[in-house]
Symmetry: C2
């Protein structure tokens, strides 16, 4: 058994069942091993940003890592932006990155690069296998590193000769420490703050945004009047009718400051104190007022469910949760295709158990409010601000959850970054309906130009924020990659298109012209 | 004047006239300054790989750097693969990378990343400006670093507050040391080897592949019988009728070994000893036989033209160069659209002074031989092995040389990496004809799977190398981004399409179905 086979068998043994891949020459033995060894589904992406973003989406929905297969430094480079998002999402990911054979590196062939240097800023764990006999153990360590709570990006670099030389056999998964419990004093102190009579907010993130944890938070809110909040960007939030609602800290600084103005104690449960996404001249970085004290009750990797349970017990919280969203959905919209009409129809037609991938940026900000009472669903966001995550994230979610419909809320400018994901959606016949919000501008940036105080922009500045001229034709782009597509310019057309997309077995793309 | 304006004015002063950009919020003051200050043409790319690849293409043709404008770590990340190519091409590039305001970094907002860490592996020079008053001097230093022979990638990181705070004014370009002359003893020793009667080859690279330098090499060959060679991948090679021909070291290891088998002395002029692109089990890394001695006559940054002049003088080389390509071009092909037919028609129709961007990978390997006697042209290649350089390189070349036709020889798999470049080609109305070699596979990798000894691949392996299912429709993809396009399935259709593309003022794309 060569190193590549020892690694593939080890990965299978450690529970890896999916590999998002874009291999090259130096990974050919790994490809051959994937071919020989059953147990791993291989999903090809025609660009590495698709591969890494899909691994993130898979991890968020499957709660376990997929592998990626990347080709040396440049292949990793192309995947860096979405690994940045995955790291900020705390998604478990196992990157397998090919490199030149160990003895070939000193010759500085064209593809030679500092792969560890590139991997480090977007990885929690990095290792280069020194020889074929180490590959299996390194692979098992990589999976363990990825699984370490709350989830990590592990990057294993595999020189070609470590793949083709003879190996010793398999390695088994090292023990992964469970999420540590939050100690009783900390729980008691949080309870004291919640009983103090001063305005308290729980800022919930990560694992605390799943239905069971939110129910506990809702019970705590019922007993104490605490407000429930979450960060502006979340890897996965379970919401919809019957689930406990949380207020999202808004992106615009002034709105966020207003939301938090009265809060005296912000209790951090898997989260950090809220900060502005960007700095602006004359605006604060921290979104909490000076009078607000942050209490870090539980870190992201702690046992958040257990901590909420303990806190509810300590408080003697009532069994009934507060802030439960009533089932409430509008009729589909009619008339002009406004942002409000879009959001209304999405809420009206969303199927039960949908996975919403939200890279809607400016336009997308309106949809959450409308869908509070829609059937229960998961909501995934761009976590690291690296645009181009939406289409790949949808790929990963659909691979992880083949029985659930995936709906992509997708800004056009961001979609362009990784539009190659549409091809993978077509090849794998994934059940994804992508709604392109075609406003033909980096609308976010036109606001930001004003926000940073750059008033009265001229032609040259506006041209850099305008992605019209020529307009992108999303129907052509989707069909060019094998994805069926339709255009909507009125609310009624959008209603028909969305119904068609959701009824379609494979992927479908709607260009919603705003 | 704020820091951003001091930087833009300094860049203009240092000779920067083009900025390939994909800005975000943290770069808005820089955008506003570009808007206010005349002198820099801004070219928007809808993905950063387009931006950095275009800067490489611009530098190769203009012999001076363009600026790029990139958005924090992820924006840089998306540009890394083509910066890797630019670094291997030794192209001068000045990256301006926005970052969070200095005081905002400690809050670890979502886009926070180790930008210096990401920049270092693909840069020769990296600096983060500490404050607004340093920005102008740092910008001038960045240009000087980029201009240092033979050309470098300089990355300047600009925290947002260094852009918006008050600056002191402009800085001027520090002196850039000229290319050092090669000393007389070294020239004399090279001449001795060339006169030894043993088989000698000059391995020419970089600046030594321009017409004037090649003419000198041809004279040396005429006087000594030396063979003239160049590496397999070159940033820019001037060739065609009337120019001195060089043998390219082939990519397949066995062919390279055969070419070099008889060479006793390889004289390195701006090049390194030839090495295999990849390592393979049981094949050597070095492509020269054990009996061959390498003589490093001139490094890439040395005065290569002067060194060749001195060597020709030392040898008393005749005025007439050897290996001059006679004007010789075929008639356009007819019949089936084979790889040979493609190459024949390209040679037949290539206009005078064309710029050929060759990312043809497997299919493209056939074109150079056919075009030896075509009208004089420049030939640009993928230098770092990071696929996805072709379409962006064409953008940069066309921006640098608006009066010259650009022809892209483009593998389909590689084109998918940065297809967003087509949109920039349309927006800027660039005179580029792209020929997509649509073989619908990573053909290179099918060969490589065999080369590494992985025989009899199964379905799963083949699926990872096959980019059909679904087939990409390049006509739809091009039109989706505003580029006119046509398909060719026979040689006659290809002849008509290529004539149409070359006659077209703006960009045109031909899907050549193989």
């Amino acid at each position: 058994m060569n190193g590549a086979e020892s690694l593939v068998r080890t990965l299978v043994d450690c529970g890896i069942d999916t590999c998002f891949a874009n291999p090259g020459t130096s990974e050919m033995h790994f490809v051959a091993a994937l071919d020989r060894v059953p147990g791993i589904r291989c999903v090809l992406g025609l660009f590495e940003g698709v591969v890494t973003g899909a691994a993130d989406g898979y991890a968020r929905m499957a709660d376990k890592p997929a592998a990626t297969l990347l080709h040396l430094g440049p292949g990793l480079g192309n995947g860096i932006a979405n690994l940045h998002n995955a790291k900020k999402a705390m998604s478990p990911v196992v990157n397998v990155i090919g490199d030149h054979a160990t003895y070939h590196l000193r010759h500085d062939a064209p593809l030679t690069a500092d792969i560890e240097g590139l991997a480090r800023p977007v990885s929690d764990w990095v290792r280069t296998s020194p020889d074929a006999r180490s590959v299996a153990a390194d692979g098992a360590q990589a999976v363990a590193a990825a699984l370490a709570p709350p989830g990590q990006v592990a990057s294993l670099i595999l020189p070609a000769d470590t793949a083709w030389n003879e190996a010793d056999g398999l390695a088994s998964l090292p023990a992964v420490a469970p999420r540590p419990a939050v100690d009783g004093d900390t729980i008691a102190e949080a309870a004291r703050l919640l009983r103090s009579g001063e305005t308290c907010a729980l800022l919930l993130a990560g694992r605390a945004l799943r239905e069971d944890a939110l129910h506990l938070a809702g019970r705590i809110a019922a007993g104490t009047g605490a407000r429930l909040m979450c960060p502006m960007s979340n890897a996965r939030l379970q919401r919809g009718a019957g689930r406990v609602m949380v207020e999202r800290v808004p992106y615009p600084v002034d709105m966020a400051l207003a939301l938090l103005a009265d809060v005296r104690h912000i209790i951090l449960i898997g989260s950090k104190s809220p900060v502005a996404f960007f700095a602006y001249p004359d605006k604060p970085s921290l979104l909490t007022p000076d009078t607000c004290e942050a209490f870090p009750m539980a870190a992201a990797g702690d046992d958040l469910l257990g901590a909420l349970e303990a806190l509810a017990d300590e408080l003697g919280a009532p069994p009934q949760a507060a802030h439960v969203a009533p089932a409430d959905r509008p009729e589909p919209a009619s008339g002009d295709l406004t942002v409000d009409a879009l959001a209304t129809t999405i809420s009206a037609l969303m199927p039960e158990d949908a996975i919403i991938v939200d890279e809607g940026i400016t336009v997308g900000r309106q949809v959450p409010a409308k869908t509070r009472g829609a059937p229960p669903h998961d909501w995934m966001q761009i976590t690291g601000g690296a645009i181009g995550i939406g289409l790949p994230l949808a790929v990963g979610a659909a691979v992880a959850c083949p029985d659930r419909p995936v709906i992509g809320l997708q800004a056009d400018g961001s979609a362009m970054y990784t539009l190659q994901a549409l091809w993978t959606q077509a090849r794998e016949s994934l059940n994804i309906t992508t709604i392109i919000f075609a406003n033909r501008t980096y609308a976010c940036l036109r606001d930001e130009l004003t926000n940073v105080g750059a008033l009265n922009p001229g032609r040259k500045a506006l041209d850099m924020l305008d992605i019209g001229n020529p307009d992108l034709d999303w129907i052509a782009l989707a069909r060019g990659m094998g994805v069926e597509a339709g255009r909507a310019t009125t609310a009624d057309e959008f209603n028909r298109q969305l119904a068609a997309g959701l009824a379609c077995q494979g992927p479908y793309l709607i260009e919603a012209v705003l």
